[in-house]
């Protein structure tokens, strides 16, 4: 059975809660596992995600139809690849309306691509409510709830909300652990490839790092270990989610075949 491809859609209602970081980590996860994802950065203003993967990324302005075509019509490529799509909070509603209007999920599935939404709620009840609505409206997509430890403690109002309660028994979920604030500046260096950093050969021989990663060569052992531990936990959590998604995909294929 051929390896399943995924269209990973990373979204959040709010800005600055780790969405681009998660999209980057997912892209690096795929690179580490030998996949070469197509990356779409829908923030045509900041282009932050594209800055980390200049050769794999396409910047999309969702207000422009030709750009919408660049993003969604890639499904029709002869050999569709795994995709990572970072949906800027500014285009949150527009992106998902467009996705529903063009029946993206059905088209993706018909081409062997499993659409998956990774949603990061903020601390407020509204972001949980919008996540609940998104899960309801996009029933034909897998939905992963991502709790970002960096967002902080969730308030009482949110915990009491029906939207929060609706996610209590949601199975596909993962935590994005918090990185020591001391190291966050280091990983924001666009020259740093997190997947290269985690490759064993690089870990053992930092002096041989490619020139694009020279910034890491100056890391203290403590900083390097701290980032590596954090990445290990992130990738472990991601692996659990991706394994679950693959299992789901296989069982769906078996069901389809038996019909």
């Amino acid at each position: 059975m051929p390896e399943k491809n995924f269209a990973i859609i990373v979204a959040s209602l709010r800005a600055r809660n780790g969405k681009t970081l998660l999209a980057r980590l997912i892209a690096d996860y795929f690179l580490l596992t030998g996949d070469k994802p197509e990356i779409f950065d829908t923030d045509a203003v900041e282009r932050k995600l594209a800055g980390f993967f200049p050769e794999l990324s396409t910047v999309i302005d969702l207000d422009r139809v030709p750009d919408q075509m660049k993003l969604f019509d890639t499904l029709q490529a002869a050999l569709p690849a795994t995709q990572v799509i970072d949906v800027t909070h500014r285009s949150f509603q527009k992106f998902f309306k467009l996705m529903r209007d063009i029946d993206y999920a059905a088209e993706a599935r018909s081409r062997g691509i499993e659409p998956v939404i990774f949603y990061i709620p903020d601390r407020d009840p509204e972001s949980y409510e919008q996540g609940r609505l998104l899960r309801e409206r996009c029933k034909d997509c897998s939905f992963v709830l991502v709790e970002n430890a960096f967002v902080g403690e969730i308030g009482k109002d949110t915990r009491r909300s029906t939207a929060y309660a609706a996610f209590k028994s949601h199975y596909l979920r993962m935590t994005l652990p918090q990185l020591d604030p001391f190291f966050t500046g280091v990983i924001e260096d666009p020259k740093l490839s997190l997947s290269d950093f985690m490759r064993p050969a690089q870990a053992e021989r930092p002096a041989r790092m490619p020139s694009a990663q020279l910034s890491l060569a100056h890391l203290s052992r403590e900083a390097g270990d701290g980032i590596r531990l954090w990445l290990k936990e992130v990738f472990k959590n991601l692996k659990w989610v991706m394994d679950e998604l693959k299992l789901r995909g296989e069982s769906m294929e078996i069901e389809d075949a038996s019909r």
Binding site: V65, M69, F72, D73, Q76, I102, Y104
Partner: protein, 244 residues
């Protein structure tokens, strides 16, 4: 079901008559209602390019072509005839239909008649309403505001429009939303019905390679157009006449 004739026309050109006719053919097909279409864009036939199997290009000013349409109404197995009238010929066609006694047959309940009058933004369109009113009274008269060309109807004074529009008993207003121009152009290039474009098929029935995004825009737009036809109860208006 008794025979029905639906005219799509305007005296002004470029207001989207053929587009509306194409949506009507798709809509009626989606309701399992067979349609034959007459394209009065003689001799070019823009409609025939999209719906070649059901369309015949005619010269509506020619008596033999008028016979081809009207004399076959009672005998044809296809009960709904759509006529896409060439720009500038609406009033003249209605007069010719009067002269041959077509509206007498409508009054006597032998034939159902409906007119989709496509309005442009200019004041001239309002004057057109006055011109066609004598033929439309008491019948299925649909004043179509077609926003496909991003028309704003800015030249109209609402009070003046109402004074024209309300004179026509039983008239119904239809609003056709705008379709994104890139999507419209792509369907135009494909030369297939809107419904075929949505299904990603070529005119020969093979799988096409049309943009998923543009197909999505066409699907959403066509659904909105269908909703307008549902709102006015178009199919009921055609079939209810059976019980008359």
């Amino acid at each position: 079901m008794k025979p029905a004739v639906l005219i799509v026309g305007a005296d002004k050109g470029g207001v989207g008559k053929t587009t509306i006719t194409r949506t009507l053919i798709d809509y009626l097909a989606s309701k399992n209602t067979l349609v034959r279409a007459f394209d009065a864009e003689f001799p070019r036939g823009a409609l025939k390019r999209f719906h070649p199997n059901v369309t015949e290009v005619i010269d509506i000013t020619s008596v033999s072509d008028q016979m081809k349409m009207l004399d076959t109404l009672l005998t044809s197995e296809v009960k709904v005839s759509l006529i896409d009238i060439r720009a500038g010929l609406l009033s003249r066609t209605l007069k010719a239909f009067t002269d041959v006694g077509f509206f007498d047959a409508v009054r006597e309940g032998e034939v159902t008649f409906g007119m989709f009058h496509i309005l442009g933004p200019s004041v001239a369109s309002l004057e057109e309403i006055a011109d066609v009113t004598p033929y439309a009274a008491g019948k299925n008269y649909f004043a179509v505001k077609n926003f496909i060309n991003e028309t704003s109807f800015f030249e109209w004074d609402p009070a003046v429009y109402d004074s024209y529009f309300k004179k026509t008993k039983g008239s119904v207003e239809l609003n056709i939303p705008k379709l994104h121009e890139m999507a419209y152009e792509q369907v135009d290039l494909s030369g297939v019905p809107f419904s075929t474009f949505i299904k990603n098929r070529t005119a020969q029935g093979h799988i096409a390679n049309s943009s998923l995004v543009l197909r999505g825009y066409v699907r959403t737009w066509l659904n909105l157009v269908y909703q307008e036809y549902d709102r006015i109860g178009l199919l009921d208006r055609l079939t209810d006449s059976e019980a008359d």
